[in-house]
Each structure stands twice: as structure tokens, then as C-alpha cells.
């Protein structure tokens, strides 16, 4: 229960977006380590290889090679990653894609804003709520939060 560090993994093919996310994560108050992969293939190789699994993976839906959705399916078909939260995000998606992601086991879906403060707000909330799942063992099957249409004004 001692606040051990939150371990975050980000899979994003766009260099500017990686920088953008990193900047937002750096501004969060929660102690964390951030690792980054540049596409889906690298992500899967990284996960296979690592002995320290991330608490949460932020996964871009559209990536070359192996798409975010394909990664999600691969991750959810392996029980080793059962307790890892998957947060999908995209700047262009349809409601159908969002629902598909949840049905295939995503825990969080974010419509990526281009605004630093908005993204910060969402990521702050996602990491803090996720921390409750890490520390309190809440039910993972029911762990679905949709930020696609919803602008968060929950807690902070």
C-alpha cells in the first residue's frame, strides 16, 4: 500500500506527440516512471521482454505496422497482462471504434485533445483513478471509463 511508483508505458509513433505526452506526464504530481515505444511491434516486443510490467499502457489507436486495436487484442489474449490497464486514445474516432475498444478489453478511451491543459487534466485523473485500482484491487472487468464524449470534471 506504500505509494510505490506508478509505471507508465506509452506507445505512440509520432515524435511530437511523444514529446507532448512526456511533457504532460512530467507535470503530474504522482511519482512515476515513463517508458516509450515508437510503434505497436516495438510495444509487443517490449512487453514480452520486460520483467517489470507497466501498471498502465497508453496506446495510440492508429500506428503503422501493428495498430493499437491489434495490440489491444494481443495484450488481452495473454493472461500475463491481466492486471495491466490499457488506455486507448485517438484524435479521430467513431463511436463504434470506441465501443469496439471497450468490448475488446480497453479500460479507458480518450479522445486526444491538442490542448496541454486539457490533456493534463485527463491524464491526471486517469493516473489517479488507476492508482485506486492498483492499491484497492477494484474489479477489473468493470473498469471502463469513457473520455470520448465526456469532458472530465470529476475530482481535481
Amino acid at each position: 500500500m506504500d505509494p510505490e511508483k506508478l509505471y507508465i508505458l506509452l506507445a505512440e509513433d509520432d515524435q511530437d506527440d511523444r514529446r507532448f505526452f512526456k511533457k504532460v506526464f512530467d507535470s503530474l504530481k504522482i511519482t512515476h516512471t515513463l517508458s516509450m515505444c515508437e510503434d505497436g511491434l516495438e510495444l509487443m516486443a517490449y512487453l514480452d521482454d520486460t520483467h517489470k510490467l507497466p501498471h498502465i499502457i497508453f496506446l495510440d489507436i492508429s500506428m503503422p505496422g501493428k495498430s493499437g486495436m491489434e495490440c489491444l487484442k494481443a495484450i488481452r489474449s495473454n493472461s500475463r497482462y491481466r492486471d495491466t490497464t490499457v488506455a486507448m486514445y485517438s484524435s479521430i474516432s467513431s463511436e463504434d471504434t470506441v465501443e469496439e475498444a471497450f468490448v475488446f478489453g480497453a479500460n479507458i478511451f480518450i479522445k486526444k485533445p491538442n490542448d496541454f491543459d486539457k490533456l493534463k487534466k485527463i491524464l491526471t485523473e486517469v493516473t489517479y483513478i488507476n492508482w485506486q485500482y492498483v492499491t484497492d484491487g477494484l474489479n477489473r472487468e468493470n473498469y471502463m471509463i469513457n473520455y470520448y464524449t465526456n469532458v472530465p470534471d470529476k475530482f481535481l
Binding site: 506504500d2 485506486q132 470529476k154
Partner: protein, 186 residues
């Protein structure tokens, strides 16, 4: 002029500790280097004060007193939510009474350790329970709002949407699809 000193660290630390501890009304004994045994439990307020004063001398309390307190708060909240008839008093009064500590202290420690407020924690836990009732017991929203002490179905739906981003019925549908898929795969 220069003076050359030799220190007895153990004795120095013991003396500092004793001087600081004697400022309070504790019954204590020093059990070897780095361990103090207290006859009674310590109120959080004194604990914080002691921690502050010791920090001044570079002495840190190696303890997860705060984590223990947070566990107690969570325990009290979960017990309260599990009861059929939830207490009609304010949650802050309830927790202060249960834990024999003022609510401000409880709330600050909780925020520091958990990164969210006690109020948010309660809402998250309530919504967790609503999710279970919704998908496992297939209760109607009317039944759930009654069971969970919501003033109306609208209030329940709004809070659900605020926390999960879903309308309760959509959430139910998506989860059923997810379960169907998992069953197909296995």
C-alpha cells in the same frame, strides 16, 4: 583557534530523541538504536508534530503510520457502504467518530497518500457497487438508486456518467458484449 571533536553518535541521537519526546506526555522507552516503544497509541496530531520536530535534526520516522490510517479510513467507509441502512449523519462526522480523529487531519492524510479526496473515494466505491448491481444482479436503476440511497434515478445516472463517462444502460450493454466475446474465445 580550532577545536577537534569526537562524537558519540548514538548518545547524541538518544539525547535529542529524549529531549523531543519529553516535550510530549508520552510513556515511552528507547529500545536500542532507532526504536522507540510507546506504552499507548499516539494521536495523529502529536505524531505529525513529533515527526516535524525530529525532521529538524535529520531524524526521519521510518514508519507507514499514514498508510495505516488510510487503511482504517477505507475500512470504515467500506463497512459503512456495506451496511443496509447507511448512517444518516454526515460522513465527516461518522469518520471522525469511528477513528477518533478530527476530520481535517483524516482528510489531509488521505489526500496525501491516495492522491484523491475522501469524498471522491466514496463516490468511486459507490459507483463500483452500482456497476456490480447493474451487471451481476441485473437490478433496475430504480431499484439500485433506492438501495444505494440516491435521491433519484436521475441523480444516480448523472453521477454514474460523471465517473465512468457512460450512461448506465450503455455501460451494461458494452459489458455484456465484452462478456459474450470472452466466452466465445474461451
Amino acid at each position: 583557534m580550532k577545536l577537534y571533536l569526537s562524537y558519540n553518535f548514538d548518545k547524541a541521537c538518544r539525547t535529542i530523541l529524549q529531549e523531543q519526546l519529553d516535550k510530549f506526555n508520552f510513556k515511552y522507552t528507547l529500545e536500542g538504536p532507532g526504536i522507540v516503544h510507546f506504552a499507548d497509541s499516539m494521536p495523529m496530531h502529536d505524531y505529525k508534530l513529533l515527526q516535524e520536530q525530529l525532521q529538524h535534526y535529520g531524524i526521519e520516522i521510518v514508519d507507514n503510520q499514514k498508510a495505516i490510517m488510510v487503511q482504517k479510513i477505507k475500512g470504515a467507509i467500506l463497512a459503512m457502504l456495506a451496511e443496509k441502512d447507511m448512517p444518516q449523519i454526515k460522513i465527516s462526522t461518522y469518520l471522525a467518530m469511528q477513528l477518533n480523529e478530527n476530520y481535517r487531519t483524516l482528510s489531509n492524510v488521505f489526500n496525501e497518500v491516495c492522491h484523491i479526496s475522501i469524498e471522491s473515494f466514496i463516490i468511486i466505491q459507490k459507483i463500483e457497487k452500482v456497476k456490480q448491481l447493474l451487471v451481476n444482479e441485473s437490478l433496475s436503476l430504480t431499484e439500485i438508486s433506492f438501495l444505494m440511497n440516491y435521491s433519484s434515478v436521475a441523480h444516480l445516472s448523472n453521477q454514474f456518467k460523471k465517473i465512468t463517462g457512460f450512461n448506465p444502460t450503455v455501460f451494461q450493454k458494452v459489458l455484456q458484449n465484452k462478456r459474450a466475446l470472452t466466452n466465445n474465445i474461451n
